[in-house]
Structure formats: structure tokens, C-alpha cells
């Protein structure tokens, strides 16, 4: 199961206005793994992440999800591939309204009972928050957890993380990543996280891919890439605390 490919990128490139954001990217993501995509600012990692749930399409190349072209069934893809953005959007209204956001188009979510919503909050360690609480009064960390709970209600197989902890203090960042890692194990999620923080990511990710100026300059375990000094080459060591 661990080695079953879930995503396959073949010669993926993305060029906009003459600038090459991604160039000839090839790699495979396996089911159940935690893959970190590291790169300095402007390396193309957020663009790459957006391609996993088709919020962005490459100009050339092929992306497969579970053996099929990624754009075969986009609503189904997005239900299966959740994303936690850098600054998660919390909609105005109550915590419950946020959890049921997808209920506007998904009857299964619309019919979720309150006790199931409370379980979803407990899953992200927000058990102390009432469903009637105003969502925008939550702290930054709590808002991220609420967004995570909202995504998990879709029962995704894959969770994408777009620098999810960059606006949080290191302690809070670690607690969110601990939670994600725990969820990965209990829910059998595949996690793909983009970050510039290689120190944080090496605590959780089993494999890492390093981007620099739109090109893949390394892929493998942290130990292997440390030996090749890939992180130095990508300019990631200067960012280390």
C-alpha cells in the first residue's frame, strides 16, 4: 500500500509571461507517505502544490491521480485532495457554518449531525470550542485547525499543506504539524507539504523534493540530500533559525 503511486507528474512545466515557474518536473507520490516540497521563496513550490488539486494546470506535461489524468473528474478530485492554505479562510458566521461550508453543494455534508461536527472539532483538538462560537473570533492557530476540520469533513485521501505554519509561532507550528502527522496515521492520509522550513519538515516528512528556480534539484530522504548538500544549493540554509 505504501508504495502504490497516487500522483505521477511527468514533464510538468508552467510558464507565465515568459518566466519559467516550473520546468520539466517529474516525480511520483506514494499513497500514505508524507512528502515535503522544499524551496526558497519563488522556487515554484506553491504553484506545484496548487496543481495537485487542479487549482492550477501546467502549460505542458501530464499529471495523473490514481492512474487517471488529474482533470478527469475535478469535483471528485477536490473532494479527495484537500488543501490547507497558508492563511486559511474562515468564513463569517459560526464555527458550525464554516464546518458545513461544503454543505451548499454536498448533501452528505449538509446532513452532518451536530455530534459528528463536534467529533470533527475534537479530531483537530478544538473540542473546547462551541459550534455556535463566532469563527472569526478564533485565534490564528484555532482558525487553521477549524479549516483543517472543514477539509477533513470531505474525507480526503490526500492533504496538501501550503506553508501552513508560516504565520504561527514555532511552538504552535509544531503542534499543528504534530496534529497533521497524527491524522495522517489515523486516517491513512497522504500528506504533501510545501515549506521553506526544512528543520520543521525533517521532523515529519519521510521524503523530500527540493525545488530551485522552478527546477527539481533533488529528491529522496533528508539524509541523502544532506550528503549532497542540496539544501545549501537551494538557498534553504540561510532561512534556518
Amino acid at each position: 500500500m505504501q508504495n502504490e503511486p497516487i500522483f505521477k507528474f511527468t514533464d510538468v512545466s508552467y510558464v507565465v509571461g515568459g518566466s519559467k515557474i516550473l520546468q520539466g518536473i517529474n516525480f511520483v507520490v506514494h499513497k500514505g507517505e508524507f512528502l515535503a516540497v522544499l524551496g526558497a521563496s519563488g522556487a515554484g513550490k506553491s504553484t506545484l502544490l496548487r496543481m495537485f488539486n487542479a487549482l492550477q494546470s501546467p502549460n505542458s506535461g501530464q499529471i495523473n491521480f490514481r492512474g487517471q489524468a488529474i482533470d478527469t473528474d475535478i469535483p471528485c478530485l477536490r473532494k479527495n485532495v484537500g488543501i490547507l492554505f497558508q492563511n486559511s479562510v474562515v468564513f463569517s458566521g459560526k464555527v458550525k457554518d464554516n464546518l458545513l461550508a461544503a454543505g451548499r453543494w454536498d448533501q452528505n455534508i449538509a446532513q452532518t449531525l451536530d455530534h459528528e461536527l463536534i467529533s470533527a472539532l475534537e479530531q483537530v483538538e478544538l473540542g473546547n470550542i462551541e459550534l455556535s462560537h463566532n469563527a472569526q473570533d478564533l485565534s490564528g492557530g484555532e482558525q487553521q485547525r477549524l479549516a483543517l476540520a472543514r477539509t477533513l469533513l470531505n474525507h480526503p485521501q490526500v492533504l496538501l499543506l501550503d506553508e501552513p505554519t508560516s504565520n504561527l509561532d514555532p511552538k504552535l507550528a509544531r503542534s499543528i504539524m504534530d496534529l497533521v502527522n497524527k491524522l495522517r496515521e489515523t486516517l491513512h492520509l497522504t500528506v504533501i507539504a510545501v515549506s521553506h522550513d526544512h528543520l520543521l519538515m525533517r521532523r515529519y516528512a519521510q521524503r523530500v523534493m527540493v525545488l530551485s528556480q522552478g527546477q527539481k534539484i533533488g529528491e529522496g530522504t533528508f539524509k541523502a540530500l544532506d550528503q549532497k548538500q542540496v539544501f545549501e544549493e537551494a538557498g534553504l540554509m540561510e532561512d534556518s533559525d
Partner: protein, 266 residues
């Protein structure tokens, strides 16, 4: 019609220029820098409307359905061009969206008024079709231009929200729904407020004009009521048709937000 209605002569109009002179004085005093624009606007409105008066006199002599339909078609084309020109951001196919919105609302509303409310004989009588058609198209143009601008503003403001909804599995229509709702509400609320206060605070232009021209105020009021209902329906219908076309332009066929269209192109 009353015999004692007030005829406005060219001399009377020249005297009315005192209003513009007074505005110019105030604008200069406040250093608003609008003097030149106001002078050009004053001359243009005078020339355009005078010319239109003569053109209308000629139009009113034409009694043919094809002429009337052709004229309405040209009016809608010009309004669609003007609406496209007013947009600060590029909206793909906006001209077509405006044209369909204005054409659809004009046919439906003008047709209803001519055939079932005023029961004009023949229906293409220029005395009814030109002024009412002009009001519908003009009002539709103003309303849809403002709504489209507001819609782009809403999309920019809600970009992350829309992408979050798309990422959760929403269709583009559902993801853009709140932006459409906010922009259409902003367009309709002034119309509704106008209906609330009409007659209490101000007398509308059409009614004032008719009363000054000697029409019985009770009849003028009936026309005004019909026109207000017509305006509201035009704004509602034209905006909904326009937005139903425009929102699609901001998404790809892969249900992706076209973020490049939301960047300022200045």
C-alpha cells in the same frame, strides 16, 4: 393636456446657464480642477440633446416595425460599447454579455409595456417605443456597468474565499455566488430605496417633465409608477443576465479561478 403649460424658449435655456456659471464659481473656489470638464460637458449635453430633438422629430415620422427594431438594435449596440468602455478591468466577452443582457431585458420589458400595459397601436409607434426603449436601455447600461465593476471588486476581495470553496469541491457558480449576490444587491438597493422615498423626498424627473408640459399630475404619477417598476425590473433582469455570462469568464473549464484577470492591468 393643459393649455397653460410652460414653453421653454431658447432664451430661457440661455438664462439657465446661470446654474453652470454658479457651479463653475464654486468649483473654482474649491479648486476641484473640474472647470474644463464641466464646460465641455455643458456644451456637449446642449449640442447632443438639441441634435437629438431634431433627430427624434424625424424618427417620430417613421412608422415601420423594421425601422423601430433596427433603431433599438443600434441603441443596444451603442450602449454595449459604452458599457464595455467603462470597465476598469478586462472582462472577456463583456460586450457580448452587455448586448445579450440589454437585448433580453429590452425585448421582454418593452414588449410587455407596449403590448399589454400601454397597448400601443401599432406596437412600433415611435412615440412610445423610442422613449421607453431608451429608458430601459439607458437604465440597464448604468446598472450593469456598475454591477460589473462591483463584481470584479468582490472577486478581488474574495479571491482566497473563492479558491477555498473551489478547493472544497464547489462549482464556479457556487464559489462566485456570494460575490454575485453582493454586487447585485448593491445595484438593486438604491432602486428599492428610491421606491421607498419617491414622492416623499423628491419628484422624479419624468413626472416633473410631464407636469411642466401640462399633463394632469394624476396621469403623470401613473406613468412614473410604471417607469419605476420598469426600472427595477430592468436592473434586476439585465444584471442577472449579465452576471450569469460574466462570472463564467473568470473561471476556466477546469473550474479554476482565472487569477490573472483580477490583477490590476494599469
Amino acid at each position: 393636456m393643459n393649455s397653460d403649460f410652460y414653453i421653454l424658449t431658447w432664451n430661457d435655456l440661455i438664462v439657465s446657464l446661470v446654474f453652470i456659471a454658479f457651479s463653475l464659481f464654486l468649483i473654482k473656489k474649491w479648486k476641484l480642477g473640474l472647470e474644463q470638464t464641466l464646460i465641455i460637458g455643458t456644451f456637449r449635453s446642449f449640442l447632443q440633446l438639441t441634435l437629438m430633438g431634431y433627430v427624434l422629430t424625424w424618427f417620430f415620422d417613421q412608422q415601420h416595425w423594421a425601422f423601430m427594431l433596427g433603431l433599438l438594435f443600434i441603441m443596444i449596440l451603442i450602449a454595449s460599447y459604452e458599457g464595455t468602455r467603462r470597465q476598469k478591468n478586462e472582462i472577456p466577452h463583456f460586450f457580448s454579455a452587455m448586448f445579450i443582457a440589454l437585448f433580453g431585458s429590452a425585448i421582454l420589458i418593452l414588449g410587455t409595456i407596449l403590448l399589454f400595459i400601454l397597448e400601443v397601436e401599432p406596437w412600433y409607434s415611435p412615440y412610445a417605443a423610442i422613449p421607453i426603449g431608451g429608458m430601459i436601455i439607458g437604465n440597464g447600461l448604468n446598472s450593469t456597468s456598475l454591477t460589473a465593476n462591483r463584481f470584479i471588486g468582490e472577486l478581488k476581495h474574495r479571491e482566497r474565499e473563492i479558491e477555498t470553496l473551489l478547493a472544497l469541491g464547489a462549482t464556479p457558480k457556487l464559489a462566485a455566488y456570494d460575490a454575485m449576490k453582493a454586487s447585485i444587491q448593491a445595484a438593486l438597493i438604491p432602486n428599492i430605496n428610491g421606491m421607498m422615498t419617491v414622492g416623499l423626498v423628491q419628484l422624479p424627473g419624468v413626472m416633473t417633465g410631464q407636469i411642466l408640459a401640462g399633463i394632469d399630475p394624476v396621469i403623470a404619477v401613473r406613468y412614473q409608477i410604471m417607469i419605476m417598476y420598469m426600472w427595477f425590473t430592468t436592473a434586476t433582469l439585465a444584471n442577472m443576465i449579465m452576471l450569469a455570462i460574466v462570472y463564467r469568464q473568470f473561471f476556466t473549464n477546469k473550474m479554476q479561478l482565472r487569477r490573472e484577470l483580477l490583477r490590476d492591468n494599469s
